[in-house]
Symmetry: C2
Subunit: 160 residues, 2 copies
DNA sequence: ACTTCACTGAACATATTGCCCAGCGAAAGA
DNA sequence: TCTTTCGCTGGGCAATATGTTCAGTGAAGT
């Protein structure tokens, strides 16, 4: 569960140069290839590294508009709403949350006008009482994990 | 910019079996290796595929709590707040938005108690007027791209 | 002192990569 | 209609990486 410094360096290296390969990593890190292999296998079976899926940019696919929608759900309709939202391709992720709304989802659309279509489709479902949408203008910090990995690796060092 | 059906199949295949390699892909897709190579190169230089970074699970790193925070910023302090938040490892992403708040960020923490520390650190900065936080309970739809890719590929087919 | 475990460094056969090429067919332009 | 361009095919080549196994070593824990 906890990762040590070498694990951290492996993840960071992998994040910076994803196509790098085990052999080259072992050279860069100054450890034996088998060690990197073993660490990687462990990180993957631990679930720390979920996979190496391609990171696709929705904007480059023609969906440059991103928005976050907060949804209020009619009591007991949660499961149905989930199933409904899972069928909408423009819903990139969905969370159930505490707080003012009951659910929060990330949407993309082809344009601001198209966002209306997407929202209509999202909220055009019986269990959804109300939706409030925030359109993303800028993304100063894109989804990142490296700082957290470094933090986790350092915490581990101090603990050991 | 627009992707065709073969591009879509390449991305989906890559998303399902990330470690697959060009040769095996060409076999699965029934096209020549050079074609897959060329398509992949094009998708990457187009920016459709940003990279193949490892997907790290914060929970497995010891950060099982996720939250979304909506921030209200003092006029003209946007840049400073951005820089501040970029230094906090637990801030996984940050967006500026329209709507009730001015910014929206995704946070992780080691526990609900630890979330308080993270939030204190996030809002402990002059330019931030107010923060409202929604803790994530479930994640019925984890960040996904395949449905959108398929949608984009189909749209392209119909256009052609 | 003994056992366990992770890491090293090496070996091997096999598979994949990056690169080249000539040929082909369809679409686009003259 | 003719010609050029472009993407795809299918093949070959050397270089490299992979998966796997092995024995040896040192450190940590019992």
């Amino acid at each position: 569960m906890a990762i040590d410094h070498l694990d951290g360096r492996i993840i960071v290296l992998l994040a910076r140069e994803p196509r790098i390969g085990v052999l080259e990593m072992s050279r860069r890190l100054g450890v034996a290839r088998g060690t990197v292999q073993a660490r990687l296998d462990r990180l993957q079976s631990n679930g720390v590294i979920r996979g190496f899926g391609p990171e696709v940019d929705p904007a480059a696919l023609g969906y440059p508009v991103t928005a976050f929608a907060t949804l209020q759900i009619r009591q007991g309709q949660g499961a149905d709403v989930r199933a409904h939202l899972a069928t909408v391709p423009e819903v990139l992720e969905l969370h159930t949350t505490t707080g003012t709304g009951d659910m929060m989802c990330r949407l993309v659309a082809r344009s601001n006008a198209d966002l209306q279509r997407v929202i209509d489709r999202v909220v055009g479902f019986d269990g959804i009482v109300r939706a409030s949408t925030a359109i993303v203008m800028e993304n100063p910090v894109p989804l990142r994990i490296i700082p957290l990995v470094e933090q986790a690796a350092e915490d581990r060092e101090r603990t050991t």
